[in-house]
């Protein structure tokens, strides 16, 4: 089997679940015959038919609302929102139904559904095609918000999301859809949903990120290693509910933390992580927790979006600052 990109791993996981469970149904705009704008559903319509891979009208509230109804009947809809910037027409369905149906009915109706969305910037796409608004979803109790950062994790986490008895928001970092190839075994093994991945051990500082920014974070750790700074690198994976325990444990060891986030700074997931660590690991912290983030502005259009994106240098500089702090 050839090595897969992240988007191919998404495709593989979708195919695996469609084949395994007749209740799994995909729906979204242009996901059928055309295979989706990023080809995440490539070939699935051809293989599983138009009743399993459904093109919907251009209406996000419909896509999510219909998924709620299907899930309430015990189906396992996997909805695609074409870009995360277009989730807002469906926000009412998510906030008032998806996140609440189990609670509202005291467990009588449950919603085993997934909402997949490509997200993040850096691909030179028009307005609304580059946003990272995971914090908005992460603030809604009742949801799980999951973000893979490698092909293997995309495969394993998407299986877990589809099999989860509750709604899962699955955000796909489109900037790295095709950046890395990795051997992904189609073994049907799901990854745990609510656990950070400590993917590199280190002793000086804990670097925390998720999604596409893991790329810059890993590079920064490499670069810093050459300067003799040992970074522990953590892929948060599930930004809500957070696996705080793993993060605290790491910071208790390193005493320093830099959180890297593409989304605007104020009120992002990085702020929640920083708040939790500042509270729970205060006795271990020997420097302020730095957040390297996107700016509190609207993602610039493609000609200048590079100015917005957090970079390896910014991460390295932040680590240097916390290393020098005293």
């Amino acid at each position: 089997m050839p090595e897969l990109t992240l988007v191919e791993a998404v495709n593989l996981a979708l195919a695996h679940e469609l084949a395994r469970d007749p209740e799994v149904v995909l729906l979204g705009q242009d996901i059928g015959k055309a295979g989706g704008v990023f080809r995440a559903t490539d070939g699935l319509w051809q293989r599983f038919g138009a009743e399993r891979v459904i093109d919907t009208p251009l209406a996000e509230s419909t896509i999510v609302g219909v998924s709620v109804g299907m899930a309430a009947q015990g189906m396992r809809p996997v909805a695609e929102i074409q870009f995360m910037g277009f989730i807002f027409p469906a926000f009412n369905q998510i906030a008032t139904a998806v996140a609440r149906m189990r609670n509202r009915t005291r467990g009588r109706i449950t919603l085993p559904l997934v909402i997949r969305m490509p997200f993040g910037g850096g691909i030179h796409a028009p307005e609304h095609h580059s946003e990272s608004t995971e914090a908005l979803l992460a603030h809604l109790p009742g949801l799980k918000v999951v973000i893979p950062s490698t092909p293997a994790r995309a495969y394993g986490l998407l299986l877990a999301a589809i099999r989860d008895p509750d709604p899962v928001i699955f955000l796909e970092p489109k900037r790295i859809y095709r950046q890395q190839r990795e051997y992904v075994e189609d073994d049907g093994e799901a990854y745990p949903l609510e656990a950070c991945f400590v993917e590199r051990e280190g002793s000086d500082v804990t670097l925390v990120s998720w999604g596409a920014m893991m790329k810059e974070t890993r590079e920064a750790a490499e670069r810093l290693a050459q300067d003799g700074i040992s970074c522990e690198v953590i892929d948060v994976v599930t930004v809500a509910p957070l696996d705080v325990a793993t993060l605290v444990e790491s910071v208790q060891k390193t005493g320093r933390c830099v959180v890297v986030q593409e989304a605007p700074r104020s009120g992002g997931v990085a702020s929640e992580i920083a708040a939790e660590l500042a509270e729970k690991a205060i006795l271990s912290l020997i420097a302020p927790i730095e957040r390297v983030t996107g700016y509190d502005t609207i993602m610039p259009y493609p000609r200048t979006e590079h100015r917005y994106m957090p970079t390896v240098s910014r991460i390295v500089e932040a680590v240097q600052r916390v290393m020098e702090f005293h």
Partner: protein
Amino acid sequence: MATAARGGRKARPAGTGGELVARFEVRYLRFLDERGEWVAEPPAELLDPELQLRNYRDMLLLRRFDHKVLMLHRTGRMGTYPGTMGQEAVGVGMARPLTERDVLVPYYRSATDLYVRGAALHEILLYWMGDERGSDFKAPHMKHDFPIPICIGSQLPQAAGVATAIKLRGEQGRAVLTAVGDGGTSQGDFYETLNVAGAWNLPLVIVINNNRWALTEPTCAQTACQTLAQKAVAGGFEGIQVDGNDIFAVQAAVAAALDKARRGQGPTLIEALTYRLCAHTTIDNAARYVPKEELEAANAAEPLVRLRRWLQNQGILDDRLEAKLENEIKDEIEQEVELALNTPLPPPEAMFDYLYAELPEKLWPQRAEVIARERGTGDA
């Protein structure tokens, strides 16, 4: 409606004209008039005395229930409650033709259809007293029925989703029935539902409880349409208007539409014209904005009296039976009210225990805290 003259039938732009490519019409259905007399012949099966006595009994019960809830509210034992007075024929008439296999997706002013469907009054009471358990309907055939949605219009795409599941699974003889208010027809979700129901030819029946008011706004503040039924034209399927105070018309239209849906022949929109004879909710004072003459006229057209007249004329109902029904109803309501009032609070951890199948670790300390706090003292 003052705006009807602006409707689609008028005023073509000067100098256009053009070839006729599509034509649509809306029809209005009514059988029993205000005096309890036939204006048209209803489907024969609806003339069954037992059926209509049952309808009458349920409508009467709901009328009495409404009053009881108002009393409970006035004495501080009940939360905000949206009454159903005057709209009993809509709820009872729409829910009656449901089979156990169908799915009901109610709107928020739905005590009527929920009751007829099989929800216990104490469940409805608990819900409006502010207890989540009111939505955990215990009747086995209601397992898939949806809870009351407070967010206007949001239930409709969800109902379409249930219908989609039925269609994809090829389940014969199942349909979905949902409802919305006249005000709710202004929401995007209402129209998106019409559109997808048409596009996918879904087994879905949407009933508009057009009770002429959306909180304090009359229907003409919502729309220029002379009928709400015509909105189905935007979905590419049939819309029909019925006299919502005539239980025969409501039941006939819904039964036929459900039947059509169950046979795979697609969706129907049914506008039931009725009137909200009560306030918007128990905390509203409708006298502030409802014109008195309009209310009087509406009272004269209300659904219960005309069915009673017909049943009396038929010799199906007499004073003795009426008294017996009233007693039965009173007992049922009293018992259910007692049940609801005597339901102890859920344990404090309940606020966490239905959020996810398994509570994520991050929330364990919070759950522990609410339990500890409830046991401890303090003003918590």
